[in-house]
Symmetry: C2
Subunit: 181 residues, 2 copies
Amino acid sequence: MPFCIHCGLPTLPLIPAGDSRVRQVCESCGHIHYENPKIICGALLVWQDKVLLCRRAIEPRYGLWTLPAGFMENGETIAEGAARESQEEAEAVSELEQLYCIYNIPDIGQVYMLYRGMLVEGNFGVGEESLECGLFSEADIPWESLAFESIRRTLKHFFADRQTGHFGLHVETLRHPVKPT
Amino acid sequence: MPFCIHCGLPTLPLIPAGDSRVRQVCESCGHIHYENPKIICGALLVWQDKVLLCRRAIEPRYGLWTLPAGFMENGETIAEGAARESQEEAEAVSELEQLYCIYNIPDIGQVYMLYRGMLVEGNFGVGEESLECGLFSEADIPWESLAFESIRRTLKHFFADRQTGHFGLHVETLRHPVKPT
């Protein structure tokens, strides 16, 4: 990040006064460029005994299966972002029930926040960022072709919790994720 | 955000291909500048029947009382950020127990994520960003001098939940917050 977003002149890596971390600071106007973790919001949507999955039409992990999820946007709540991603990636109308899984991924500055909910009336399509979408029972989940560890864990939690009927919040940290290809 | 962080040349507000939102896009190199919500991580720390509060030595809300909290940094988990803020603002060693309150504040692109935990051995000091720190029982909380609605709600939840002994996760949305002065 070598240039200032405010004035276009070069920045330098410095520790600002009162701070303890190196930031890119503008030599000219003094603007400090902070970089902070991003939230990935998404949803595990259920219809009867099946879960809605999408096969990715974009990198990273093109061609692999995922839950609908993506970067949270300014101006929306986590739940609104999860519903928007479900609409965009699978043309799914969702009825969200609870914030279900949170994954810290500190190595890449991401926090996954995944809701659990219902796929309204079982209807879905195929969004622009998906090659195909489908409803999968536990026995049919493509475990070897999932895009992300966060998605694998969320599905594992769901099928385990469904046995007990108790769906608590899961908060976990994923270390050293495989880099996107 | 009128200049490109990658090449220093001007950006324009455009909707990139495959996107549905206006982003600042570099006219020269094409770099897309995304802006996403930021996470504020913090902690409600308890010693005996009292809660640790800090009086802010920084803007916004200089002079008002808050729980230790601040922007989550890249490379840390939410809990690590909450512990770090507790150390920085109140020289507090914390033993975190649960992710307790989450507040969407879509109008300003923030998500508060507050842990509940113990103040180890009841020890604390006064960090650089605080004017003073202190332990407050429910009757002594300075309700009229709290810095943020998120903090007020977290304290209300805590004292109510303490009556029942059940500390569930609270996920709420705050609309139209008062702008920082």
